[in-house]
């Protein structure tokens, strides 16, 4: 018989004067893998913060393993035994894996029997089919190994709820499948519950037992995954999709005119034409860092070379633009005004003498006022919505007019509505004749605009698929749509 690991009942919670959670009801039972999709991202950060750290609520209560930990009168002062596994490592980098397991809790023994300790850790790992010795340091682990180690460690120290944040944004499809096998094993054997945060329902339906949908700070739907249909999910996102009728078919330019060429020493040669959108899917999570290196520096380790307009990319930075994963935190300057951010050259340098001429600024403000609205007058970017920030990023690309745009994981950590908006921006960029290369480790919605899907593994091309064969990518464990 199962037990409730986490219960949120009629929770209302505000942070910094903003109402973040409004009548949230959520029950997570032992052994459940609950997939949580947010339609508008409102309240997600607060929800994670609340269930991990406890806060005084406006209404309702939070129970962890049957005990009230947050309420409207009192709340527990110490954090709950809940772990968060995400792109960023939570292992202590200066300690090896065995030490991370045994000594982080503070009960370090006086003498350490290394061999005995390593034997113990190897026995633990072997239960889960992991061949680590315990002497490795966190920096030497792959993302998949690191996630597995963090989850096993959490299970060992008695954590009963583990939040897994967007694993497909930093793991390849096979790695996600391998991680999910571990989740199922731990959930079934040890009664640990998982909250699987993700932005795509297909992924949740493939790996989770329950689906919850959050909208405007409320859990509006909680269903068994077996009862959820594709039709249902298309209704959930229908309102936003209906507004964007042009998105249904990928744009394929009538004449192929090469804009960029990607080569490596393993014989890979990929050409992308102007106005084309190509998805380069990295099956083993090794190719994207190499391509990024080749964009910015000469002589990338695996011999990748990228030429734009016939010249090496790193020499002609004006010809291409690059949007990294999570661009909101890394590609914007929050203390600068909206206009200043908009006209940054290559996203990080000012155009010489441009700032001195008020006439130019006025012209740009007048031109973009109709597109960006009142935001164009903002003196800084603090407090601006995700929607406005993404709009700024993509409008900047349109203003730059490069020949090629490289986007890494374009739908990373995005709510359902924002994904649709980003698709619209990419579609606009394509219409300007700019080649778009989407560097992805998960497909998410990438295929909606793609004219080609190139699957890469171990620095070689595994398969190249045209739009009518995209569904066959499912053979590789990919969630296609």
């Amino acid at each position: 018989m199962s037990k409730e690991n986490l219960v949120l009942s009629h929770v209302c919670f505000s942070e910094n004067g903003n109402e973040e959670l409004n009548e949230v009801n959520l029950t997570v039972f032992e052994g459940d893998i609950l997939g949580l999709i947010t339609l508008d991202n409102q309240g997600l950060e607060s929800l994670i913060n609340l269930i991990m750290n406890n806060h005084l609520l406006e209404r309702g209560h939070v129970l962890y393993r049957g005990k009230e930990v947050s309420g409207c009168l009192t709340c527990k002062k110490t954090p709950n035994k809940i772990a968060l596994v995400e792109a960023q490592s939570r292992l202590v980098p200066a300690l090896n894996i065995a030490d991370n397991f045994f000594f982080v809790k503070g009960n370090c023994p006086l003498f350490v029997h290394r061999r005995k300790q390593n034997r113990q850790i190897q026995r633990v790992f072997s239960q889960y089919g992991i061949s680590l010795l315990g002497t490795e340091y966190p920096s030497s682990l792959s993302d998949l190994e690191r996630c597995k180690v963090e989850i096993i460690k959490a299970g060992m120290i008695g954590v009963k709820v583990i939040i897994l944040r967007d694993p497909s944004s930093f793991l390849g499809p096979k790695e996600v499948a391998s991680l999910n096998a571990l989740l199922k094993q731990i959930a079934e054997n040890e009664g640990v519950s998982f909250i699987y945060l993700c932005n795509h329902h297909r992924e949740i339906l493939s790996y989770c037992s329950l689906l919850a949908i959050m909208y405007s700070g409320t859990i509006v739907l909680q269903k068994n995954c077996s009862a959820v249909t594709e039709e249902m999910m298309s209704i959930v996102s229908r309102d936003s999709v209906r507004l964007l009728p042009d998105l249904h078919k990928p744009i394929i330019p009538p004449v192929f005119e090469e804009a960029v060429q990607i080569k490596n020493t393993h014989g890979v040669e990929i050409s992308v034409g102007k106005g084309e959108c190509v998805v380069l899917l990295d099956l083993d999570n090794k190719v994207i860092p190499e391509i990024t290196d080749a964009l910015f520096e000469k002589g990338a380790p695996k011999g990748y070379s990228i030429t734009v307009g016939g010249k090496p990319a790193f020499k002609n930075t004006a010809l291409w633009s690059y949007i990294p994963a999570n661009p909101i935190s890394s590609s914007l300057f929050y203390d600068m005004s909206y206009v200043d951010n908009l006209i940054l050259k290559k996203g990080n340098s000012k155009i010489a003498n441009f700032w001195l001429r008020k006439k130019y600024r006025k012209t740009i403000i007048a031109e973009y006022c109709s597109i960006c609205g009142d935001a164009i007058e903002s003196r800084d970017l603090y407090g601006m919505s995700y929607q406005k920030l993404y709009q700024l990023l993509y409008q900047r690309i349109l203003l730059e007019k490069p020949q090629v745009l490289f986007v890494v994981q374009p739908f990373n950590r995005m709510d359902m509505y924002q994904r649709i908006r980003v698709l619209e921006y990419i579609s606009q960029i394509q219409k300007e004749g700019i080649a778009v290369v989407l560097l992805a480790v998960s497909l998410s919605d990438s295929l909606r605009l793609a004219s080609r899907l190139i699957l890469m593994q171990n620095h070689t091309i595994v398969k190249e698929l045209p739009p009518d064969e995209f569904e066959t990518a499912a053979e590789y464990g990919l969630i296609t749509r």
Partner: protein, 343 residues
């Protein structure tokens, strides 16, 4: 408008307290200066010291009053939001005896025992109203059934039999807890009556294995039927293609969960929030604030909370065009009598 007034009042209170806080230290300054002056001049100190001590005492009292005031304000606010009458006990401001008496009366009137008595009286009244002459009703329905059978009208005979079963269950003694199997049978009867009206447009799918231990768990009577009725009327009735109502159940170490899902019209986000908010309020608070009819689900919720405690009751999940799910949380009970009562 109301909230504006309360905000304005709160602001005035805070302003007064702030003024007090500024004035007291200011008045302390001359006192300290006077003591220093007296010490320098060699004047007698005791009177001035006494004055200073009084000032300090007043200041500490003001600080204490300020924190008590903020605490009491929070408790009153939470009480108004429907978080239970126990909060009235926690108020720590020294009110006048009359105000104290009013608060105590208010607490008595809204205590769970009083509410339970009130709820019981209402249920008894409803039961009496329905029991005007149940035998006459059953006999009439039986007569209709016989006539229908003689006339070869099998559907009418089935209809009157189902209706008689339904009324027999609804009208009979409310004091005992019934099993899940009884409740399921009642919603099957109710659904059959509705199907005479809607035909195959609506379907009932009960995914509870009634040959297992689940059937022994008990609950108050007529908990499921009002929710199924709501699902039919508000969820499926307006749908051209009809829909399905699915009933599932789950058991944990302490609780018993029943889920009633429909794939009908669903409801907008604002309405969902309002319903869940009202469900979390104590009924006496909710009744003062309610603006619309349809109190059946709140009564069900109130009955469960009065019987078993505030952590039990109903929760709604809904999305437009997707449907509505009602989660009913009950304790695992196997006794037949209602706890602590003989209704």
């Amino acid at each position: 408008m109301n909230s504006d007034n309360s905000t304005a009042e709160k602001k005035t209170h805070f302003l007064l307290i702030h003024v007090l806080f500024i004035l007291l230290p200011l008045s302390l300054l001359p006192a300290v200066a006077a003591v220093c002056f007296a010490a320098i001049q060699g004047l007698p100190l005791p009177v001035l010291l006494l004055f200073l001590i009084i000032q300090l005492a007043v200041l500490s009292l003001a600080v204490l009053a300020f924190f008590s005031y903020r605490k009491s304000e929070r408790f009153l606010h939470l009480y108004r939001e429907g978080n239970g009458e126990k909060l009235l006990q926690m108020i720590c401001l020294p009110y006048s005896p009359a105000v104290k008496q009013i608060l105590s009366d208010l607490q008595k009137n809204s205590s769970e025992d009083v509410l339970w008595e009130e709820n019981k009286r209402q249920s008894q009244y409803l039961a009496l109203q329905n029991q005007i002459n149940p035998h006459f009703l059953y006999n009439t329905l039986e007569a209709i059934r016989s006539e229908a059978l003689i006339g070869g009208l099998q559907t009418v005979a089935d209809m009157s039999e189902t209706l008689a079963n339904y009324f027999r269950y609804t009208i009979s003694n409310m004091s005992e807890l019934v099993t899940l199997a009884d409740e399921i049978q009642n919603i099957r009867d109710y659904f059959m009556i509705q199907q005479f009206r809607f035909g195959d447009r609506i379907k009932l799918n009960i995914k509870i294995p009634l040959d297992g231990e689940l059937r022994f768990y008990r609950m108050p009577k007529l908990i499921l039927q009002p929710i199924v009725e709501n699902a039919v009327i508000h969820g499926l009735e307006s749908e051209l293609n009809g829909g399905t109502i699915t009933v599932t159940a789950k058991i944990t170490d302490e609780n018993f969960y029943i889920y009633i899902e429909d794939d009908g019209a669903g409801m907008p986000h604002e309405k969902l929030v309002e319903i869940n908010k009202n469900l979390s309020m104590h009924l006496h608070i909710f009744e003062k604030t309610k603006k619309h009819g349809g109190i059946a689900i709140y009564n069900v919720n109130e009955r469960l909370q009065l019987l078993f405690g505030a952590k039990y009751g109903l929760t709604y999940y809904s999305m437009p065009q997707i449907g509505t799910t009602v989660e009913i949380i009950l304790p695992k009970v196997s006794e037949t009598k209602l706890p602590g009562t003989a209704l």
